[in-house]
């Protein structure tokens, strides 16, 4: 099935368009091709999963989509903006406004409280510290952590930390949510709950969620799945049609 198939669950608007992207990492005399002529699309209103074995280029694709890594050839459009035509500073500003991150290890700053961690994306956008904390507290309330806003990350369980990470990714209402192996540090049950929460809170008609994972237990949460192998997208189809090897 083509990425442009009209049977897709989300809206017709393309949120992320990756076209013929190649990324090479210099490695002595034999450069490593992390991405080989990759084309890929993710739509608004969908949860798109990029799956595949370790080292296939999933994380590299995620990095180039959010502009934290430059590409060697091809083009990437995110919500109509071509990243390659923007300066580093403009890409940084674009990311600050439009991208929310959920990391594999959650990456919550251990010396900041939960509410302070969640308010960071707002403060980076110039919000007043008090107002940023108010909004962060409200979103933490929504994910069931209203009682723990003054706790430090190490005082929380893995699942609670993941909820904080999801709150931090959503607090500034970004259009694109990037999740890197969101269940890797969680047990099966907690990982399932985290994906439920992500699906419930993050998926919206004007928002695109891209999840990189090799955890086949969570494939069922996806609307669309793109499978990678050896730096290429080898399969891209609705989750309902995807059959894991």
């Amino acid at each position: 099935m083509s990425p442009h198939d009209s049977s897709r669950a989300g809206s017709d608007s393309v949120a992320v368009a990756v076209r013929n992207v190649t990324k090479i990492f210099p490695n002595g005399d034999t450069p490593t091709y992390a991405l080989r002529d990759v084309s890929f699309e993710a739509r608004c209103g969908e949860l798109t999963m990029i799956v595949g074995p370790s080292g296939c280029g999933k994380t590299t694709l995620l990095s180039v989509i959010c502009g934290t890594l430059a590409i060697d050839s091809g083009s990437i459009e995110v919500f109509g903006k071509t990243l390659g035509s923007m300066s580093v500073s403009e890409v940084t500003g674009f990311r600050s406004k439009n991208v929310g991150f959920i990391f594999q290890q959650f990456n919550l700053i251990p010396t900041l409280t939960v509410v302070e961690n969640v308010s960071i994306p707002l403060i980076l956008q110039g919000w007043n510290y008090r107002k940023a904390e108010e909004k962060a507290a409200a979103i933490l309330q929504d994910v069931g952590l209203g009682e723990r806003i003054r706790s430090f990350p190490k005082q929380l369980s893995g699942g609670q930390q993941q909820r904080v990470a999801i709150s931090r990714a959503l607090v500034h209402d970004p259009k694109l949510i990037i999740c890197d192996e969101p269940t890797a540090s969680l047990d099966a049950k907690t990982g399932h709950h985290a994906l439920e929460l992500l699906k419930k809170s993050a998926c919206a008609p004007d928002r695109c969620v891209i999840v990189v994972t090799h955890d086949s237990r969570i494939f069922s949460f996806a609307d669309w799945i793109a499978e990678m192998e050896d730096g290429r997208v080898v399969k891209s189809c609705p989750a309902s049609e995807y059959q894991h090897a």
Binding site: T68, S89, G93, R95, S96, F103, N107, T111, E116, Y129
Partner: protein, 377 residues
Amino acid sequence: MLRIALLMLFRDRAKYMMLIVGLTFCSLLMTQQASVFCGLMLWTSATVRNIGAKVWVFDAKVEQVNEVIPLREIEVTRVRGVPGVEWAVPLYVGIEQARLSDGSFQNVQLVGLDTATFVGRPMEITKGRIEDLRLPDAVIIDQVGIAKFKSKGIAIDIGTTFEINDKAARVVALCHANRSFLGQPYVYTTYDRALQFSKPQRKMMSCVLVEPKPGVSATELADSISKLPGLKAFERDDLFWNTIWWYIKNTGIPISFGTVVLMGVIVGIAIAGQTFYLFILDNLLYLADLKAMGARMPILAAMVFLQSFSVGFVGFGLGVGLTSIFGYKVLKIEQPPFFMPWQVPAFVAVIIILICCFSAAIGLRQIAKLEPAVVFK
């Protein structure tokens, strides 16, 4: 983000305390040693400050106040003949040996004042009257003498007698004077009696104290007097600084203190620089997160500099504060020497700022090299 930066620093208590302790120690070491050095230099010029005359005339070879070459008394008359001189009086300054009633000895700095005018008299008479210096065998002794004699079991008061070079001296007043470099008590008497107390030499007068006429500057008058063959005149401040510079150039004191100050700088760089670098390394992943989330390099640089300067500010404050407490305590007992002019904390502040800049710069180098994509590794 600056508040976030401070929270990240303050809540990492182990490293925060390490940074504060390192910078406090560094600041304390530099401020305290520099202040003791300044105090010691001030002691070298105690005679200039105690006597206080505007112009001092010495033998032409004299470089500083503690190394006098005696003059003939006729030189007073020659100096009085220089235009612009309001008055000129002789002064005797020399180290003599005092023998106490129990037979023990104490070296004293004997000052012989002009009998008629008492020019150069002690600035503060704490007991008795200066006029009594005209009584037979009369001397005035300072607080250092009282303390030194007391430590030998002799309580000095008005009426106490001792000997200076086997000649009787009787205390008629007590005074407070600036402490001398070698810590010998100042004993004041009249010029004529000082000559009797001291061992006879062909030339006895130490120097001539001069007051310029109204409208004549001390510097101009000193220049005029210096034109007289065999004489050299100093304006008071020139003599003060000449004395200090003589000790700086001709003794190992600056090297000794400079080494300790340098150690303070090295300790500061080593402890603060290394700890701050570790702090940055520990937070590198989170700083990369911030970079990925859209924090630009100037924001991250501001965060790092604020963290560095905040520990520098606290360390500097504590160091200078502890030095001030030290100074307050030692000034009461008048030793070791201590003088903290504003230049000392200013100098230490500059050093601390440099240490903070260095620490922040090595941390920032790591952050600048950081690819935001590392957050996905």
